[in-house]
């Protein structure tokens, strides 16, 4: 919380004169661009301008009222008012999540054989050495390792972001579902025919498309849930 006395030189207009309500609101509007869409920005600045003009007429300095940290004021107004850039954030988190997840998925491919082979050996020593079971355990292990890796990536990526917890809660359902779809697509492609460039492309798409869908759904749904429960898109 800043105090009214915190007015500093950064808030004075060139020449040292106090800035008008219009100048202060223009500054706030510039900062708002990072956080809010055009319609919300207009609503906030119109509202703020009326307030600051009235305060100015009553002898208060508009810049002092906003405080020294205009960016923080803009960010908090947007967050508390529940008008953060949801769509932009969904795209950003989905893109980053998918990008970061791909190495995690590759790692899953590399790690799974080591993790699964003891299970298969145990199954073999118990007399369960059916090829179908062997393949099922391998694919399930692969799907599970990849899903857990993607969720771990999301935990890191969402740290400190708005609605992190609701997003992860939804991702806990959508990411394993995407892994199941990816496994189904890959096993089908391998069962159907020979490995060609086309079949490999389908296999890759079978992983990437469900993954992106799962992340986008988790983020947008998580943001919506956060907005519905608390309204504020503060880190949760």
């Amino acid at each position: 919380m800043s105090t009214p006395e915190h007015h500093d030189r950064a808030h004075a207009a060139p020449g040292g004169r106090a800035r008008s309500a219009e100048e202060v609101v223009a500054d706030v509007d510039r900062r708002l661009r990072r956080y809010a869409g055009r319609a919300d920005r207009r609503a906030i600045t119109e509202d703020l301008l009326g307030d600051l003009r009235a305060a100015q007429a009553a002898g208060c300095d508009p810049a002092t009222l906003i405080g020294p940290d205009v960016d923080e004021f803009a960010r908090r107004t947007v967050e508390e008012g529940g008008c953060a850039k949801v769509a932009g954030d969904t795209r950003r988190v989905t893109a980053l999540g998918a990008l970061w997840s791909l190495p995690a998925v590759v790692l899953g491919y590399l790690v799974t054989p080591y993790a699964v082979s003891p299970v298969l050996e145990a199954a073999g020593s118990a007399g369960i050495d059916v090829p179908l079971v062997r393949a099922g355990v391998a694919w399930a292990g692969l799907g599970a390792v990849c899903a857990l890796s993607v969720l771990a990536v999301m935990v890191v990526l969402l740290r400190g972001r708005a609605a992190a917890r609701p997003t992860l809660q939804v991702a806990a359902f959508t990411v394993p579902f995407a892994a199941a779809v990816a496994v189904a697509v890959n096993t089908t492609v391998l069962a159907v025919g020979p490995i060609t460039h086309g079949s490999i492309a389908v296999q890759v798409a079978g992983v990437v498309v469900p993954l992106v869908g799962a992340l986008a759904l988790a983020r947008s749904w998580g943001l919506r849930r956060a907005g519905a429960s608390s309204g504020a898109l503060l880190p949760a």
Binding site: M1, S2, D51, A57, A58, E79
Partner: protein, 127 residues
């Protein structure tokens, strides 16, 4: 404790109670955002700026606890005046009770642990 530490601590304590204070002030007199800052100062909370109150009012409006109307002003352009909605009155009642219960519990804990004088002693000294 350094003055900055005291201020930070006070800010943290206020953070959870400021919305209740704003609702309480608006329940008594509908008014505009800057006047709320002045009233908070009059009630012994001088460190709360307009830059803190305005975003908080945005939340209370979004939650439907506070309504607004435009009123003419003697000293300048028309001002946006906030008042409490029915939901706001209900929230104020619940939040005030919760605040009283919480502070009573903490005060009792501190007194029992010897960090504060016993409430009875305080009453006798005041009397």
């Amino acid at each position: 404790m350094a003055p900055d530490d005291r201020s930070d601590r006070r800010t943290q304590l206020l953070r959870g109670a400021l919305d209740t204070c704003l609702l309480a002030l608006l329940a008594r007199t509908p008014t505009h955002a800057y006047d709320l800052v002045v009233q908070l100062e009059r009630h012994g909370l001088p460190g709360v700026s307009y830059g803190t109150v305005y975003p908080l009012m945005a939340r209370l409006r979004r939650q439907g606890l506070v309504g607004e109307r435009i009123e003419p002003s003697d000293s300048g352009p028309p001002r946006k005046v906030f008042d409490l909605t029915l939901e706001g009155r209900s929230a104020l009642s619940a939040w005030s009770a919760q605040w009283a219960e919480t502070t009573t519990t903490i005060t009792q804990l501190l007194a029992t642990a010897g960090a504060l004088p016993e409430p009875e002693v305080t009453t006798r000294v005041d009397a």
